[in-house]
């Protein structure tokens, strides 16, 4: 009996000490004020920048990855009574209404909100500040079309043209956030009454639907490293910046007439332990230093005006001038219904 207790105790101790290998890394520097930033999985920032922020403000930012924009929003909603962090970044225009309606965020106005982010404000209380813009656009493999002497498609209408049969690959709006943005862009372009017809034409024209952006872009698209069979894919306005030849010339191109604006927001969570410090973190996300590196680290466009884009982006991936948009309210009210209708049309 005693031996059992000793054995079990030893094993439990071993398990706990083994766990310390993980836990031990977390408990450093308790003296600093710590702000937990709940972010989507694609969040990335220059380490030096975070270190510098901690040095100047005494605030340590602890990043917590929580899935894609939709998953992140739902986690915030589910835990709103006792939030898992102090600041959230990554709720996008597609899901913002849900978060606002559920009262997840507190008002907070960043000092430089009027230098650009203001353009994307969703409501007068300033509960969400726009950090960056991640427009979703159709991308084409320019070389593929040049080789065959076929003109590149220019707009959504062209994608249903028999000349471009079996060339387009798009992720499913039910499981992919860019896929959902593309569905919204077709609603914006063809209206509540016309988008389903357009999708029927797309399906009849051999459009391939995959469950995620990864398969569509990395496997089906001919302009990516995967060298797939299809020269037209749904991706982001910024993707061509990653597909350049050694001489700096872009291999692929985003079609400006097919873009849908997605804005990613940050905000102070209601119930944050230290709202003041949390607000400072939001200000940091809108600071020129942070804004200057979002393109490089996250492939998105800064929301603050006059922040320079990395070299080459002006040629390969300029910010789309007139992207389509739908009011957040309308998206929130209809999203699930549209997705269901889309399923009925495309999946039959």
């Amino acid at each position: 009996m005693n031996r059992f207790l000793r054995l079990a105790g030893a094993a439990a101790l071993a398990a706990l000490t083994a766990s310390c290998s993980l836990a031990g890394t977390q408990n450093q520097d308790q003296s600093a004020r710590t702000v937990t930033l709940v972010a989507h999985d694609s969040f990335a920032a220059d380490e030096k920048l975070l270190a510098k922020f901690q040095e100047t403000t005494g605030i340590r930012v602890n990043v917590l990855n929580s899935g894609d924009a939709g998953e992140l929003t739902n986690k915030l909603v589910l835990s709103k009574a006792n939030p898992i962090g102090d600041v959230a970044y990554g709720v996008d225009s597609t899901f913002a209404s849900r978060a606002l309606r559920e009262g997840v965020f507190e008002p907070h106005r960043a000092p430089n909100a009027d230098q650009g982010p203001q353009r994307y404000a969703l409501e007068p209380e300033h509960r969400l500040s726009a950090v960056d813009v991640a427009d979703v656009c159709v991308n084409v493999d320019s070389g593929w079309f040049a080789q065959r002497g076929l003109p590149e498609p220019a707009n959504l209408r062209d994608l249903a043209d028999p000349r471009y049969r079996d060339l387009f690959s798009v992720p499913d709006p039910t499981t992919s956030s860019p896929g959902l943005a593309f569905l919204l862009s077709t609603v914006a372009a063809f209206g509540e009454n016309g988008w389903q017809d357009y999708w029927r034409q797309l399906a009849a024209n051999g459009t391939k639907v995959s469950s995620g952006w990864e398969e569509a872009y990395n496997q089906d698209f001919s302009g990516s490293a995967g060298k797939g069979p299809r020269p037209i894919v749904l991706s982001y306005a910024s993707s061509p910046a990653a597909e350049v030849n050694p001489d700096g010339s872009p291999r692929t191109k985003a079609l400006a007439g097919t873009c849908y604006r997605q804005v990613e927001y940050a905000g102070v969570l209601r119930g944050a332990k230290d709202p003041e410090a949390a607000g400072r973190v939001v200000d940091f996300l809108l600071s020129p230093e942070f804004q200057a590196q979002v393109a490089d680290t996250m492939y998105v466009y800064p929301s603050v005006r006059d922040v320079p884009l990395p070299q080459g982006w002006a040629v390969s991936a300029p910010l789309p001038p007139r992207p389509a948009e739908l009011p957040a309210q309308q998206v929130e009210q209809n999203r699930d219904r549209w997705v269901e209708q889309w399923r009925a049309v495309v999946r039959g």
Binding site: A15, S19, L22, N65, G67, S210, G212, W213, N218
Partner: protein, 545 residues
């Protein structure tokens, strides 16, 4: 053949010390399960359970989901069984060089992220409809061959060959000797393996998502969709309950099949049971070779992708991985991510072994058969519940505990342990149950206390299975992505998380790095499994009996 009493035999001494020990062990196991599984799952289902269940049940689409889920799981399980048996035989019965490497190699599929493997299968099979159901089953089979090979092989290793030899010398054909002597003895392990594989396949998520392309949906992908994207907790709860019911039904069937099958066997030391292959056995070696080649195909295609670029071969992906990747894609270097993975998986393995062994001990210590089986089924449930349900359940419950575990880095190994513990139980229990209880009685007669009996009899005989379970658990934890990805994780990416991040970005180098990270993950796996294999349990005390 010496048979023990009919069915399961409890240890001879049911003294009060033994009973208290079983009670303590049961309390630990059920406490862990209650805290990290039952309570969170009940809470999240409770949020959605307000009468929406009947509506979901009345929808014919729901039943199509159920049918497809169970159908593809059954097909995948069959494939895994067919491919796994020759491997199990080779691992258990044949003395051929390189077995340790083979053991490690067949574990590799288990750690590869389903997204990447799904994409590899998608590339190999093309993408039209007929192929994608087959693709789903092939990919599920690919992931689970090792479960069959290792679980069945674990018991097979210890079976006394002389019984078969006797049958053969009495004129039975090889097949006859197998079906009438070996197979009945293997049934407990087979049942275990099939139950685990079936559960894995019916809740497989990434594979169905990638290869189903949105067209084919299972309960698991639908629960994910409703929970994560739509926040339709009501629909998700209804489907989760349905999933739970289906899983419990499958487990009960498995338990009934196991009934009366578990007999005391003459277990032997592993070294005594392997011989060089002879005659017809070469056919089995050939079949195993084919399986290994089939397993290697997607793996090799991944490795090729890691070194190929538009302009020829290059190791740029590997070089970038040694750093923090291109333009800070990864917050840490590939090496650090590998270390994070190993640390997390080690924690999960410790925990699972502790809980799993305690649970096995309870299961063979419980006197009443029905109680034991009920407990056994309960312990398997975490394999059959959607990871997203558990992950979101943590979110709404664990803040009630001191220290707010919701965002603790400890939560990841705890969640992984939920998945790994049932595997440990399934691998160790058949062996423990096969031990002739008269050995224990003899030891007790000679004055050993209950713990001494366990230590001298059960531990040596089950050592190989425990080591195999540890290796297996470690690998499963290493590659576990479901639960891990639904937990809010402090930014210390493990390799699978890093791979997920890399494939979700454009650019050739990112893609190469993703595949290079897969290669690194495979290397870590093989090294870890070989290292664990080297840790031999105490097997010297298996005497002649």
């Amino acid at each position: 053949m010496a048979r023990g009493g009919a069915g399961l035999t409890a240890p001879a001494q049911a003294g009060s010390g033994h009973r208290i020990a079983v009670g303590v062990a049961a309390a630990v196991v059920l406490g862990f399960l209650g805290l990290f599984f039952a309570w969170p799952v009940a809470a999240i289902l409770g949020l959605g359970a307000d009468g929406g269940v009947t509506g979901v049940l009345a929808d014919p689409a729901t039943w199509r989901l159920v049918a497809f889920t169970l159908g593809q799981a059954a097909g995948s399980t069959l494939l895994a069984l067919l491919a796994g048996m020759p491997l199990a035989y080779v691992l258990a019965r044949l003395a051929i060089p390189g077995k340790t490497v083979l053991r490690a190699m067949i574990m590799v599929p288990f750690v590869l992220p389903t997204l990447v493997v799904g994409m590899a299968f998608r590339a190999l099979l093309g993408g039209d409809d007929g192929v994608s159901v087959l693709g789903i089953m092939l990919a599920n089979g690919f992931f689970n061959v090792a479960v069959v090979a290792r679980t069945v092989g674990g018991l097979w290793t210890h079976l006394d060959r002389r019984v078969e030899d006797t049958a053969r010398s009495l004129g039975a054909s090889r097949l006859r000797a197998f079906t009438s002597v070996t197979l009945p003895a293997l049934l407990p392990a087979l049942g275990s393996a099939l139950a685990v594989v079936f559960l894995f396949c019916s809740t497989s998520f990434g594979v169905v998502l990638v290869l189903g392309g949105g067209r084919y949906r299972t309960l698991e992908t639908e629960i994910y969709l409703r929970t994560v994207q739509l926040l339709d907790l009501r629909g998700a709860a209804a489907l989760s309950l349905l999933q739970l019911a289906a899983i419990v039904a499958a487990l009960v069937i498995a338990a009934l099949a196991r009934r009366r099958r578990e007999t005391a066997l003459r277990l032997r030391k592993a070294e005594e049971t392997a011989r060089p292959p002879q005659g017809g056995e070469w056919w089995i070696v050939g079949a195993a070779g084919v399986v290994v080649a089939a397993l290697a195909t997607p793996i090799v295609s991944l490795l090729l992708r890691s070194v190929s670029t538009r302009d020829g071969w290059s190791l740029a992906g590997y070089r970038a991985l040694a750093g923090t990747g291109e333009r800070g894609t990864l917050q840490v270097s590939g090496i650090d991510a590998a270390l994070n993975s190993v640390r997390t998986a080690a924690d999960a393995t410790w925990l699972s072994l502790l809980i799993g062994l305690l649970a096995s001990f309870v299961l063979i210590g419980v006197q009443r058969r029905t109680t034991a089986e009920l407990l056994d089924t309960v312990l398997m449930l975490p394999l059959g519940v959607s990871a997203v349900t558990v992950g979101f359940g943590y979110l709404v419950t664990l803040d009630a505990l001191p220290g707010d575990l919701r965002t603790s880095p400890l939560l990841v190994p705890f969640a992984q342990a939920l998945v790994v513990t049932p595997l440990v139980i399934r691998m160790v229990l058949p062996v423990l149950r096969s031990i002739d209880t008269r050995l224990r009685q003899a030891a007790a007669t000679l004055g050993a206390n209950p713990w001494r009996v366990r230590w001298e009899i059960d531990v040596p005989l089950a050592a190989r299975a425990v080591v195999a379970a540890a290796g297996f658990g470690f690998v499963v934890a290493l590659g576990e992505f479901g639960a891990t990805s639904f937990l809010a994780r402090p930014d210390a990416p493990t390799l699978p998380v890093a791979i997920g991040r890399l494939v979700s970005r454009p650019g050739e180098l990112n893609s190469q790095m993703a595949y290079a990270a897969c290669a690194l993950l495979m290397i870590v796996t093989i090294v870890a499994v070989i290292a664990i294999e080297r840790v031999r349990g105490r097997t010297e005390s298996v005497g002649e009996f």
